[in-house]
């Protein structure tokens, strides 16, 4: 149907725009936030000069991300004498593309009815309603894990094909670390699946729209606070950032698995890392922070516990949901950056020990307790 095509192309454009913006913006947020955390000023020199004037726009160093991109694109694309240039060339994309694909199944808003949003187009759209999500797949979470697991292949390919010992070591580390944490991440999410009884992300978000005990929003964090913590830690480990950045530990391995990459190929790895911050934020928001839900808000407007009701038009609701989702994602991204600039790097054996001897049993325990509680709640 042409109507579906229009809506989903719009969604895809929105999603790509959001991810690219986040990827660029987060480099700036990371610089500035770390600077403020460390009593510094932070990046503040890149400027855009208005043509034919001496007015320089600095905007708190916002243009540093663009300067980075330009610099990486104009740098020499140096290639090592590798025996497998094809794998070498394709590795950054194998890292980068699955990260983008994960966003396809994440719902970034509630239900959208185009006819109500644009009354002039009512004849064209009829009474169709679209959940704000690029692909509503029944296997939601499973898709996320399937694509998330593919980035390991990119890291391993890069390490193997670079013909460099440091890359090789980095790839080995990346492989074992990411596989270990993938497992923990899956286990933590299992608890949620038990509670909600589905792996469909849209349903999971809808389940989180009510309230808990009358006042708490029924978000995943309040159902599964333990799993939320573990999920966060495992997700940061998946993203290979400090304190889990063993695959690229620059004091030991130069740059780990992308030592031999230069110019925009290296930029792709970095960009994938920053976009993955946003993806983790989006995932965490979807699973544990109620997605686009605000407490006491439904598709009709706000209904506060005191009984007062604040009705909203459909357009206002859609915009609010989009903004709320982005705001939550930004908050989680900022939290990840806070962690990255607060904690020192683990030793390599500690990372694996932490995964297998600490987080894995805890996740299992969490799962068992959840299963028992869920069984007690459902059995008569």
């Amino acid at each position: 149907m042409i109507q579906d095509l229009v809506v989903y192309v719009a969604y895809i454009v929105y999603a790509i725009a959001v991810l690219m913006t986040f990827g660029t913006l987060l480099t700036w947020v990371e610089r500035k936030q770390s600077a403020v955390m460390q009593d510094r000023i932070g990046a503040n020199r890149a400027y855009v000069r208005l043509p034919f004037t001496q007015i320089k726009l600095i905007w708190l160093g916002l243009f540093h991300g663009i300067a980075d991109g330009l610099k990486l694109m104009t740098k020499e694309d140096w290639r090592p004498k590798t025996y497998d240039w094809y794998a070498y060339a394709v590795a950054p994309w194998v890292c980068f593309v699955p990260v983008l694909l994960v966003f396809a199944v994440i719902p970034f808003g509630g239900l959208m009815v185009p006819a109500k949003l644009f009354p002039s187009l009512a004849g064209f759209f009829g009474d169709r309603a679209y959940p704000m999500q690029i692909a509503r797949l029944d296997a939601g979470i499973l898709i996320v894990f399937a694509f998330g697991g593919m980035t390991i292949i990119g890291a391993m390919l890069a390490g193997w094909s670079s013909y460099n010992k440091f890359s090789m070591l980095g790839a080995l580390r990346a492989g074992s670390q990411m596989i270990s944490y993938e497992l923990v991440m899956g286990l933590t999410v299992l608890g949620l699946i038990l509670i909600y009884g589905t792996v469909d992300l849209t349903t999971i978000v809808q389940e989180q729209s009510g309230t808990l005990l009358g006042f708490l929003p029924a978000w995943g964090v309040f159902h599964q606070p333990f799993a939320a913590t573990l999920f966060m830690a495992a997700a940061i480990a998946e993203n290979k950032r400090i304190p889990f950045d063993l695959p690229e530990a620059e004091s030991e391995l130069i740059s780990g698995f992308y030592t031999e990459y230069s110019a925009m190929k290296m930029g792709l790895f970095m960009f994938a890392e920053f976009i993955e911050i946003a993806i983790i934020g989006a995932l965490f928001t979807t699973l544990f922070l109620g997605g686009c839900n605000l407490p006491y808000m439904s598709d009709a407007g706000f209904a506060f516990p005191g009984g007062s009701v604040l009705p909203m038009s459909h357009g206002a609701v859609v915009v609010t949901q989009l903004v709320v989702f982005l705001a939550k994602v930004m908050l989680i991204c900022s939290f990840q950056i806070l962690i990255r600039w607060s904690l020192p790097r683990f030793r390599y054996d500690q990372v694996l020990k932490f995964a297998w001897k600490f987080m894995f049993p805890l996740a299992l325990m969490n799962l068992v307790v959840t299963a028992v509680l869920a069984w007690m709640a459902t059995s008569p």
Binding site: V36, D39, S342
Partner: protein, 191 residues
């Protein structure tokens, strides 16, 4: 099993169960860093400065040590001419060979007939060793505690000349008290 016996130091750090549980100490650390972040952020949004560093070079620190070897200055005679006699000692001793002096001849000043027409220092190569200051027999060159404005887009712009070197004109110079009672020019005029 440990691969080899480790020496146990008397101040070996020990961890209680609290530290071992890991999460609590992590949370404490995150609390500290986010407290600093919030404090500084509050200063920024209320239009104050939330950082300890400066916007160098637009803004330099005020608390350089008095003995800091910063930018060079040429001391002046009471009549405002440089005290330098263009003896080239500083240029000779300079390990980086960055001082260039052209001497001129002034028969009117019998005491100091030789004086510098051009005195330039190339800050792109100066190592701030201070040897020029020590070598000078006339106490004509010193180093002020302020740093020179170094950041430039071109190495060729990093020379400073007499005009800038002669801007240092303190009202009271404890290192070299001048005889009071009129400037040299006045004395010369009265003869």
């Amino acid at each position: 099993m440990k691969p080899y016996p480790r020496k146990v130091y008397w101040n070996e750090p020990t961890m209680g169960w609290w530290e071992r549980a890991y999460l609590f100490e992590i949370l404490r650390g995150l609390g500290i860093t986010s407290a600093v972040f919030l404090r500084n952020m509050w200063k920024w949004v209320t239009f104050r400065k939330g950082a300890l560093t400066t916007y160098y070079p637009e803004e330099t620190r005020w608390d350089y040590a008095p003995a800091n070897r910063g930018k060079h200055v040429l001391t002046q005679r009471p009549d405002g001419r440089p005290q330098c006699v263009a003896c080239n000692m500083c240029a000779t001793v300079c390990p980086a060979k960055v001082i260039e002096i052209d001497a001129g001849f002034d028969p009117a000043d019998a005491a100091h007939p030789k004086f510098p027409i051009r005195f330039e220092i190339d800050y792109s190569r100066c190592v701030f060793c201070g040897l020029c200051v020590e070598a000078c027999p006339e106490d004509a060159i010193r180093m002020a505690k302020e740093v020179p404005g170094l950041p430039r887009y071109d190495r060729g712009q990093m020379w400073i000349g007499m005009e800038e070197l002669l801007t240092w004109n303190p009202q009271k110079d404890v290192a070299k008290p001048y005889p009071t009672g009129g400037t040299r020019a006045e004395k010369r005029g009265s003869h």
